[in-house]
């Protein structure tokens, strides 16, 4: 049982490269490289080229545009609210699912997956129907002078919805594989619930948690569909970075659109790098846990 999954993977890798003749390997590798260059690298370079088409000065001047700044601010705000709430929810859900048995557990697992299953646009529409002018809660919200749809609050709620499964999904298999023995050992040694959580549970799920946060964060910042529906694309008020890019494209302001796109692309690159590091660490932890 010890280390079996890891071993299998290795064997499969070496097995493949040994059995396939060399020209097959070269062709497969070429296809992969052409695909990567054609569909990822070239467009990315094009984005940067277009962004800097007007010169470096223009590029940086874009970031003084109040609408651009507002979009960046709103994107950061949405992420800053969605990510911590996700961590709290994700840890709580993963904890209860993996460490306890209770009726309705499977329903909870299914509920967590809903945002993955539903198209973001539909999610946005649901919020529109709930909170909009014609919506179920619309009149009540208006009576209290609370604006959700076509307001930053709506953006935050839509972002929360689409990012909701990331942390929990990451943690559930990790926590399930680790079991509850260590926590019970901590209790037997006199730890209270909080000490057990902080000193045993958190360190054990640290890398999975960071990974989940990264995924959640990049989705929060990059989300388009759901927020598009509830935002109404009001520049300077409800436009996030992706929405602002779309607005600028429609108005033929390509330089600004591409400049904002480079900012999002940078975020993606940073995410990828951190993700690679964390993924390496967390798969190692998972392998150790199953040993």
């Amino acid at each position: 049982m010890a280390g079996a999954p890891k071993l299998n993977l290795k064997q499969r890798h070496t097995g493949r490269s040994v059995t396939k003749p060399i020209w097959v390997r070269i062709i497969l590798t070429l296809i992969a490289i052409i695909f990567l260059v054609g569909f990822l690298l070239l467009p990315l370079l094009e984005v940067f080229a277009q962004a800097f088409a007007g010169g470096v000065a223009t590029y940086f001047a874009t970031f003084k545009d109040p609408f651009v700044l507002s979009a960046i601010r709103l994107t950061l705000l949405a992420a800053a609210i969605a990510v911590p709430l996700n961590v709290v929810f994700g840890v709580a859900a993963a904890w209860s699912i993996s460490k306890f048995n209770f009726p309705g557990k499977n329903i909870l697992i299914t509920l967590i997956d809903i945002p993955f299953a539903v198209s973001p646009v539909i999610a946005g529409l649901v919020f529109l129907l709930l909170f909009g002018h014609q919506g179920v809660l619309g009149p009540w919200l208006e009576a209290h002078n609370w604006k959700i749809v076509f307001a930053p609050a709506g953006i935050v709620i839509a972002t929360l919805f689409v990012t909701f499964p990331f942390v929990a999904r990451e943690l559930i298999p990790l926590m399930q594989s680790q079991g509850t023995d260590e926590e019970q050992a901590a209790l037997m040694l006199g730890a209270n619930g909080w000490q057990m959580f902080r000193r045993i549970t958190v360190p054990n799920i640290k890398w999975g948690l960071i990974y989940g946060v990264i995924l959640c964060n990049s989705r929060a910042m990059g989300e388009f569909g759901a927020v598009y529906v509830v935002s109404g694309s009001i520049q300077g008020v409800t436009n996030t970075m992706p929405l602002e890019i779309e607005t600028r494209m429609e108005n033929f302001d390509f330089t600004t659109a591409y400049t904002l796109a480079t900012a999002l692309a940078m975020l993606a690159l940073i995410t990828l790098i951190v993700k690679t590091i964390v993924e390496y660490r967390s798969t190692r932890l998972l392998a150790e846990a199953t040993e």
């Binding site: 023995d181 260590e182 050992a185 209790l187 037997m188 040694l189 006199g190 730890a191 150790e288």
Partner: protein, 356 residues
């Protein structure tokens, strides 16, 4: 501290994991819970520890009702798979129980260091305090788990199959060492095992469990020499079965007759005689005794005793016997020999239990 288990039952869904278990572990005793897989040993141990609650009955530790929460019981628990904290060094693992104490009773860092180092010495792991659990061998992990449990100075130590995952040699060494440790530290200990040899060797008393019930409680000698029922007979080592009938206080199994207070007041009922292999004598001649004739099928002369596999001539049932090396050489048996078998020390039970 003594442990009293009074009428404890535990149901998991519809399944009865423990069925009205009564057991008293005296102060300073080392008691083994012995039984086949699924017999409820772990469940009972976890209830004593407070990791699980009984549906009925109570646990009294040192004359007092055990507190509800596991962490208040001050019981040392060694998990079957050790459950070491994988992200902590050996030192921090052992120090954990001291570090989580309330501020007022928490020892100073220097004191913690002193305690941990002395525990490492006790479990013979000096110099390994900086290692992580993944860098230790099975036996070393086992001893770290033990040191960690001992750090809180428990008066009761519970161990779940402490040597289950180790190889035979290490097991033997560690169990003797555990016995000494138990005596030196004046603890009351309960350990779970499904290895009868282990239980017989180290325990003061053995609790034989089956299907959530206690089959017998007694010293190793009592349970081995006087098993209370066929299950215990079967579970504590190999045993030969002789079918017969009881009549007027005498059990007849073929030619063999054994005086036996009948297992019940019934007469002329089928019974089974249980005989351990070393309670079977074999001889080359009949010597005028009532015997069973058998043929030698196989001889295994390895080790201090010689195992002889026989087949009865009358009903072709196998018989396992163990004889001394001396007898083996002086009588010079070979496969195919006809021998005369006499059981000594027969345990007689009514023939209705289809155990094992």
């Amino acid at each position: 501290m003594s442990i009293e288990i009074q009428g404890v039952s535990k149901h998991i869904g519809k399944f009865t994991a423990l069925d009205n278990v009564d057991l008293t572990v005296n102060e300073g005793e080392l008691v083994a819970l012995l039984g086949p897989s699924g017999s409820g040993k772990t469940t009972l141990l976890r209830i004593i520890a407070g990791l699980e609650t009984a549906d009925q009955g109570s646990i009294v530790i040192d004359g007092e009702q055990a507190s509800k929460r596991a962490r208040d019981r001050n019981v040392g628990f060694v998990f079957q798979h050790y459950a070491l904290f994988r992200h902590m060094s050996v030192f921090e693992n052992i120090a954990f129980g001291l570090r989580v104490r309330p501020w007022a009773t928490r020892p100073k860092n220097a004191k913690i260091r002193e305690i941990v180092l002395s525990l490492l010495k006790l479990v013979q792991l000096e110099g390994l305090e900086k290692r992580y659990p993944s860098q230790l061998s099975g036996g070393q992990r086992q001893r770290v788990a033990l040191a960690r449990a001992l750090a809180i100075e428990p008066k009761v130590l519970l161990l779940d199959e402490p040597f289950g995952a180790l190889d035979a040699r290490v097991r033997q060494e560690l169990r003797r060492w555990l016995r000494r440790l138990h005596d030196d530290l004046h603890m009351t200990s309960v350990f779970v095992t499904h290895d009868q040899e282990e239980a017989l060797e180290v325990a003061d008393r053995i609790v034989v469990m089956n299907h959530g019930k206690i089959e017998q409680i007694g010293t190793p000698q009592e349970v081995y020499d006087h098993p209370a029922n066929p299950f215990v007979y079967n579970f504590l080592g190999r045993v030969n079965l002789f079918h017969g009938r009881v009549h007027n206080g005498t059990v007849s199994m073929g030619e063999i007759k054994v005086d036996s207070p009948a297992p019940s007041d019934q007469d002329n009922v089928p019974v089974v005689g249980y005989v351990r292999p070393h309670d079977i004598t074999i001889a080359k001649s009949r010597n005028g005794k009532a015997t069973i004739e058998a043929k030698i099928q196989h001889i295994n002369p390895v080790g201090p005793i010689v195992r002889v596999e026989l087949e009865r001539l009358d009903d072709r049932q196998p018989i396992a016997a163990e004889i001394t090396r001396d007898q083996y050489y002086s009588d010079s048996y070979t496969v195919g020999d006809l021998v005369y078998v006499t059981p000594t020390n027969v345990g007689v039970f009514l023939d209705y239990d289809p155990v094992i």
